[in-house]
């Protein structure tokens, strides 16, 4: 025991000596450390316990501040109402239909309260509530599902896009020079992307292995507020078994609304007065 103690202390002393000797030697040669490059890690690592990039949060806060200003300055309840009925009209009708299709929700064509009571303790039957609150006139008479309506909607969207093309044509005639310079610059695009990243709460329940791409066409005002939104494949919202698509589309619409006014370039309104946003959550959901 004593011997090992002695050996140990001798060796320890030796170690301290060596360290003391070698340290100055090392100090002579300062290592050439390259400047630290900070990299934002997007890919979620093998072990995922770290909350998502704080950058996004900051963006949201900024956006929220902006929103506050907007509310106080413009306070446009009427405006919202108007745009709503116009722009969200088509999806609304579709939602309505889907709801009526689902077997769990019992549709009430005569709009009377249907009471389903269970005497058994363990089961409740959900019933559809009377729509006494609905104030939007468009919803009326749309209760019954009619496949022809879809066709009508699709046709309508075609008409709309045709209209769009016409207006575009006017522009091209007026300002031909601007047209050549289409597209946003990288920094412009990044600014817009970063803003929408912050507004978009991804519905985490969506499957990552399905093709869920929601394309939304926006009409913008010069200040970046959105005057019209249109889901390009909105026919898909009607289809049974596309519940995920509908959820994603709704979340994308919320993101656009939440982000208003969009962070658009200060110049070249004609370039970006119409924008298409492609919402694709796969990268995030795959995690």
């Amino acid at each position: 025991m004593n011997r090992s103690l002695i050996i140990s202390s001798v060796l320890h002393a030796l170690l301290i000596f060596i360290t003391a000797m070698s340290l100055p030697f090392l100090a002579k040669k300062p290592l050439d450390i390259p400047p630290i490059v900070s990299v934002e890690l997007i890919q979620i690592a093998e072990k995922t316990n770290i909350p998502f990039a704080p950058k996004a949060k900051k963006i949201i806060e900024k956006v929220k501040e902006k929103e506050k200003k907007l509310v106080s300055e413009q306070a446009p309840p009427k405006k919202i109402e108007k745009t709503k009925t116009k722009t969200v009209l088509a999806p609304d009708q579709n939602n309505k239909k889907i709801e009526n299709e689902t077997p769990e929700a019992i549709p009430l064509p005569d709009k009377t309260l249907k009471k389903v009571e269970t005497k058994e303790e363990k089961k409740q039957n959900p019933e559809k509530v009377d729509d006494e609150v609905k104030q939007v006139s468009e919803f009326e008479k749309k209760d019954l599902f009619d496949p022809n309506n879809i066709a009508a909607l699709i046709d309508k969207s075609k008409e709309e896009s045709a209209e769009v093309l016409k207006t575009n044509d006017d522009i091209t005639q007026d300002q031909e020079r601007n047209v050549e310079n289409t597209g946003l610059t990288l920094s412009e695009e990044d600014a817009l992307k970063a803003q929408i990243f912050g507004c978009w709460s991804i519905p985490l329940g969506l499957p990552y292995n399905e093709n869920l791409l929601v394309r939304i066409k926006l009409k913008l005002k010069p200040d970046g507020t959105v005057s019209k939104t249109e889901i390009l494949d909105h026919a898909r919202m009607n289809k049974p078994g596309q519940g995920f698509y509908k959820v994603l589309a709704e979340s994308a619409l919320r993101a656009v609304k939440l982000c208003q006014p969009l962070r658009v370039p200060t110049t070249g309104y004609e370039r970006w007065k119409e924008l298409q946003l492609n919402f694709d959550a796969r990268e995030m959901l795959e995690g």
Partner: protein
């Protein structure tokens, strides 16, 4: 003719010249969706009626508290502070002033009201999209007053489904093993509770050791391992009636039971002469089938949701690894190839993933991989944790975690924890005693 050409030009030119600017949005935030759960409104007469029966001062608030708690614990929603609400519950339910809710940053709003009708509890609720200023869904339920907690859970499920696109998991129960006493002489009982920890109830007295209870996905049956008369055997328990029976007649230890997805078979391990193989027993005709035949330990079997495949744990390679085979035992393939030992594979009810326990360098991990073994993701690391069980929608895993004892062998505890597939939302599920071996039921209502 010229007209046609003109039209053609008319169409072609703008497309070529002014393509619509497209911006790809491939990222978003994983922050929980801010939403407001307005307390369910209740008229004075109904309030008094329920106060008498349920001893709760305001059943409307109680139910909305359940909804709020469920949505918060899911990690996908952020219920906002009620103090900030500007609109009274009864008025909000009739016609929300969306600007008010927008102002407090709510993106969705839940309103509703409670009535006392013919000794029954009648609850209606509505879900509103605040930003789009429209109603998303409206439902009503009528039930006996004692079911008020379940009403809260069902509302949570409906909201969850409408906003995430997949079914919820709130109207469910969890069966687990309650643990008490010193580590060397644990007393274990079967216990059952609601998914949120309420209504805890013990199902056995603790006279014999019980382990690994598992729910039948199709009924209120449970299968588990009991050391009744010191003979470790797989048992079947009917929660409604309390009747118990031993499963099959095996000359040795049966363990690691689990139901088939249709609830008609039990799959389990049978150990004899130092080797454990996997067997199934049909609960209707009692026919026993041997599925694996290997001198190694084959255990922890779990069916795929379509019943066509079985994943299990085997040490045929020398160490514990995860395998997948067809339901007749053919086509055995090893799927785990990472460093470490792999155990307790459980097939997700969605079918796309297998959850597992991994032991590597003295740490235990709960993780998931695809059914071919690719895409391994470790969700949580700890000193000891195992036995993941899926929520019925395949989004959350519940498991148990044991603590390290100190140098005197003190400080041992076992607790239930849950984590969702993103690995962000990890939380303890409080139980009256220590707890282990949790198993999640299917949705009680559909």
């Amino acid at each position: 003719m010229t007209k046609k050409i003109l039209i053609l030009l008319f169409i072609l030119i703008p497309i070529k010249a002014n393509a619509l600017i497209e911006v790809d949005i491939t990222r978003g935030n994983l922050n929980p969706l801010p939403l407001a759960v307005s307390p369910l409104s209740i008229d004075e007469e109904s309030r008094k009626g329920f106060e008498k029966i349920l001893k709760k001062e305001n059943i409307g608030s109680e139910i909305s508290n359940i909804v709020e708690n469920n949505l918060r614990t899911s990690g996908l929603f952020n219920p906002l502070d009620k103090k900030a609400f500007l609109q009274a519950p009864d008025i909000a339910n009739l016609k929300p002033r969306f600007e008010d809710w927008n102002l407090i940053k709510a993106q969705a709003l839940i309103t509703g009201k409670v009535n006392y009708v013919d000794d029954k509890l009648r609850v209606e609720f509505r879900l509103w999209d605040v930003l789009a200023a429209k109603e998303m869904m409206a439902l009503a339920f009528t039930t006996v007053p004692n079911n008020w907690r379940r009403v809260g859970h069902i509302i949570s499920d409906k909201v969850y489904e409408r906003l995430t696109g997949e079914k919820g998991y709130f109207d469910t129960r969890i069966i687990y093993v309650s643990e008490e006493g010193p580590k060397t002489q644990r007393i274990k009982k079967l216990a059952i509770m609601d998914q949120d920890g309420a209504n805890n109830k013990f199902l056995t007295l603790g006279n014999e050791l019980v382990l690994t209870p598992r729910f039948n996905p199709a009924s209120q049956m449970v299968t588990y391992l009991s050391y009744f008369k010191n003979m470790p055997r797989v048992y079947l328990l009917d929660i409604e009636t309390g009747t118990q029976e031993v499963v099959g007649d095996f000359p040795g230890m049966t363990f690691a039971p689990r139901f088939s997805p249709d609830g008609k078979k039990i799959i389990m391990s049978f150990a004899k002469d130092g080797k454990s193989d996997i067997y199934t027993m049909d609960l209707e005709n009692r026919i026993v089938e041997k599925i694996t035949n290997h001198p190694s330990i084959d255990t922890s079997p779990s069916y795929s949701p379509d019943g066509k495949y079985i994943t299990f744990n085997s040490d045929r390679s020398g160490y514990q690894q995860i395998y997948v085979m067809k339901n007749d035992g053919s086509d055995v393939k090893r799927i785990s190839f990472g460093n470490g030992l792999y155990g307790t594979p459980v097939w997700s009810p969605r079918g796309d993933l297998i959850a597992f326990t991994k032991l590597h360098k003295g740490k235990f991990y709960i993780g998931v991989m695809r059914t071919d073994g690719s895409g391994e993701r470790l969700l949580t690391e700890n000193y000891y944790q195992e036995a993941p069980s899926w929520s019925p929608n395949g989004r959350v895993l519940i498991f148990y975690r044991e603590t390290k004892t100190n140098s005197k062998g003190e400080g041992f505890s076992a607790k239930l924890w849950s984590i969702d597939l993103t690995g962000y939302n990890e939380r303890e599920i409080k139980t009256p005693t220590d707890a282990s071996d949790p198993s999640w039921s299917s949705l009680l209502s559909n």
